[in-house]
């Protein structure tokens, strides 16, 4: 049991470190920080993208973009553990590549698995280099936890498909060049059987992107409306009506983000409790109740960190990490909400004051809203418990009343 690199790992780490040392994007980090202060959404987006694209292009030219992708498609043909090492070395600079996370993490692998050779050579390299940005359009108002309940229609018309419907919670749709889209092509088949996947140019006529205003008042996501949007059949990914299996490729990659540092609120709360004073003038962290709560939270956050280390170790051995990674968000999200509410309370009535500054108290205040979304996005707490119970512990799935029914005969209203 040790934290040492293997010789090969050490060699790659040295290489990565050397390159980063020679290309440190500190100026871009400053641009990023400045951009985040911009109030106007479009201007902010544009500024963020400028910094992001500059760093991504540099990484691509240096051979450090989408490391695990084949060289032919703009990658490095690197191993998963090399990817992890790169992330460790890139550290805070990784924040610059945020806008590409979904495109490279989810759309790329799907295109790689289902597009034609010609399409792969056309679309993957610019996706890797950040010259083209992609988004993923799966969720719908009617299909949340039940993703396959989606209703966006695709009807064949000659060599094209005509798309009508609405997607929701689409990250980055307002600045993306392309996107992958799952649609219903046969509503007479059972729910999972009538779906088909496409990719499309987000500038296509009939595509309308609207920001969603969140409970916090901010807008990080979009709704995307499709009105008679034409997609040529050649942009179909996988077979007609086989879209569900295609989407599993995409989603599997969503979950496969090893060692990703999940926000928990614990470091922020530690700093907060170390600075805020209680009514009697003592530091919060000297309060026995605060200590007991913090200790429990800290042990959970540490457990997540070390669980990720165990996964990295499996990668290092060339094994596929175990299921223990499915616990991350389920542990982090509700804990973050509890911590944020507790931090409010420790300040007494002043805890109610709205703030978005970068102080621990400011960050914790924002988490009060962030946690609501984190407990939902990418699988609700309840869905995550089901996944653990079924895929990890082998317990039976929920009874599925709609499994074999034709989709268009499944009720849409409870009463």
């Amino acid at each position: 049991m040790n934290f040492d690199d293997t010789p090969q790992e050490a060699e790659f780490r040295a290489l990565a470190r050397k390159w980063i040392e020679a290309n440190r994007p500190d100026d871009l980090m400053r641009d990023l920080a400045a951009a985040e202060e911009i109030k106007d959404r479009d201007q902010r987006t544009a500024a963020l993208l400028r910094a992001a694209k500059a760093w991504q292009k540099k990484k691509a030219d240096g051979g450090f973009a989408c490391l695990t992708w084949p060289k032919d498609y703009g990658g490095r043909s690197a191993t998963p553990i090399q990817r992890v090492i790169w992330d460790q070395e890139e550290g805070k600079y990784g924040a610059l590549s945020g806008p590409f996370a979904i495109g490279q993490g989810m759309c790329g692998p799907t295109v790689m698995a289902y597009a034609t050779e010609e399409q792969k050579r056309r679309y993957l390299p610019p996706l890797a280099s950040g010259e083209e940005v992609w988004c993923q359009m799966f969720s719908e108002p009617a299909g949340g936890s039940d993703l396959a309940g989606l209703r966006t229609r695709a009807e064949k018309d000659g060599d094209d498909w005509i798309i009508n419907g609405q997607k929701i919670w689409t990250t980055g749709a307002h600045f993306c060049d392309y996107g992958i889209l799952i649609t219903r092509t046969d509503p007479t088949l059972p729910k999972h059987k009538g779906l088909t996947m496409f990719f499309l140019d987000m500038k296509s006529p009939g595509v309308e992107v609207r920001p969603i205003k969140q409970a916090s008042g901010h807008s990080g996501f979009n709704e995307v409306y499709f009105t008679n949007v034409r997609i040529p059949d050649v942009q179909r990914l996988g077979k007609v009506n086989d879209g569900w299996n295609v989407s599993l490729t995409t989603l599997m990659n969503e979950r496969f983000s090893i060692g990703a540092r999940l926000a928990t609120g614990v470091p922020e709360f530690f700093d907060f409790a170390s600075s805020v004073k209680m009514a009697d003038g003592s530091l919060a962290i000297d309060d026995k109740a605060v200590r007991e709560n913090l200790a429990t939270w800290a042990a959970r956050a540490n457990g997540l960190k070390y669980t990720a280390w165990r996964a990295i170790s499996s990668l290092s051995r060339g094994e596929r990490p175990g299921p223990e990674n499915s616990i991350g968000k389920l542990v982090a999200a509700p804990m973050m909400q509890d911590i944020a509410m507790y931090a409010l309370e420790l300040q007494g009535q002043m805890g109610a004051v709205a703030r978005d500054d970068a102080s621990p108290a400011g960050k914790l205040y924002q988490m009060l809203y962030g946690a609501i979304g984190m407990r939902i996005a990418g699988g609700t707490d309840e869905v995550m418990r089901n996944i653990i119970a079924e895929r990890v512990l082998g317990l039976p799935g929920d009874i599925r009343v709609d499994k074999d029914a034709p989709f268009n005969q499944i009720p849409t209203k409870g009463r």
Binding site: D146, E345, A354, I376, P411, T412, K413, G414
Partner: protein, 367 residues
């Protein structure tokens, strides 16, 4: 035993609910949330016209002369409807303090205006992070001139007068008068006005004969805790109903999400918390209405229970609504915001938990 509200009181509740269902819809609440006004003036006027602001103010001072129990049922409905008006500051705090300790002249001066909806009052207590204590108060009164900074005053931006807690006692200060500067402060729940107020030699009139200031603060906080608890159980019940209704309507995997045990049990836990909080609030109402010796313990008990119930119900209501609960468009966040605001007004849960234990010990020591 008749541990329940009377038919007349239930009738008053129904009237209040009917009025609010038309005059305090989510649309009205959102108008204030989104900054179109600092409070709902039409609603405030309407409440005055119905005699609901002065419901517990004696008739000689222009009120309806009803009791605290009537105030409790109104409070529950205001909480349920998220009423964006300065009711708690004006009625539970300012008016109660005037009735507790005000001179006859002071009552004559303010209570009729309050009942008529012509005067908004506030309690200026908080001076910084943490729950205030007698030692933590820095605001000073020098020959009737008040100086100091109150960092967060509920409805301080719209109030006509404040009762200011100073080292030397409680003072009534005209907020439109000299020596007062105030700026609105946004909180977790912008449907209720809050302000930071700086007093710089502002003229103040001592409240009443100048009884021990802090025991007055304790007294009024106990009374307000019961009344706010009713606002909290009103909100908790509404959040529970919203979650239940959505669980019945929303289909996933071909069936209402309310048919999944994960959702059923989340809602059952909300019902349990809301029921306990309601029963505890009723006991607080009895103690308040009879000014019983048990009031301090009953108030802390009601406060702790209602705070936990409302925060749980609002939080779980978001969760039952899934992604929709995370949108500005759905009303879930209105309750989430209010539940977190009310958890902090009158002081933190910790402060009230400690008051509850202190009172339990006193009672056991006495027994």
């Amino acid at each position: 035993m008749n541990f329940d509200f009377s038919d007349e009181q239930k009738q008053l509740r129904d009237e209040a609910r009917r009025f609010l269902s038309e005059n305090c819809t989510p649309k009205h609440v959102r108008a204030i949330l989104e900054g179109r006004g600092t409070y709902d003036r039409a609603l405030w006027k309407g409440l005055a016209d119905l005699g609901l602001i002065g419901v517990a103010i004696p008739e000689e001072f222009g009120g309806a002369g009803a009791g605290r129990l009537e105030l409790c049922v109104v409070a529950e409905e205001l909480g349920r409807a998220l009423a964006p008006v300065p009711y708690s500051s004006t009625v539970y705090l300012a008016a109660e303090l005037l009735m507790l300790a005000g001179t006859d002249a002071q009552k004559k001066a303010w209570l009729p205006k309050i009942a008529a909806g012509e005067a908004i009052g506030a309690l200026a207590l908080v001076e910084g992070v943490g729950d205030p204590t007698p030692r933590s108060i820095m605001t000073a009164a020098v020959n009737g001139k008040i100086s100091g900074t109150k960092t967060l005053v509920a409805d301080g931006g719209i109030a006509d007068f404040a009762i200011v807690v100073a080292r030397e006692g409680l003072f009534i200060v005209d907020l439109n008068g000299a020596g007062v500067t105030r700026e609105n402060v946004e909180t977790v729940d912008p449907t209720r006005n809050h302000a930071r107020i700086v007093f710089d030699n502002a003229p103040g009139e001592a409240l009443g004969a100048g009884a021990d200031a802090w025991s007055l603060v304790d007294k009024v906080l106990d009374r307000a805790a019961v009344l706010v608890a009713f606002e909290q159980i009103g909100g908790a019940d509404r959040a529970l109903e919203m979650g239940r209704d959505y669980a019945l309507d929303r289909i996933a995997f071909g069936r209402p999400i309310g048919s999944f045990q994960a959702v059923k049990h989340m809602l059952a836990d909300m019902y349990v918390a809301a029921t306990l909080a309601r029963s505890n609030a009723y006991y607080g109402a009895w103690a308040l209405s009879t000014d019983a010796g048990e009031l301090a313990e009953a108030a802390a008990n009601a406060r702790v229970s209602a705070t936990q119930a409302y925060q749980l119900c609002a939080k779980n209501n978001n969760q039952v609504h899934g992604g929709m609960g995370f949108t500005w468009e759905f009303d879930c966040h209105l309750y989430y915001r209010r539940s977190n605001l009310l958890a902090l007004t009158l002081g933190s849960l910790t402060m009230w938990e400690n008051r509850l234990i202190d009172e339990m010990r006193k009672r056991n020591a006495a027994a």
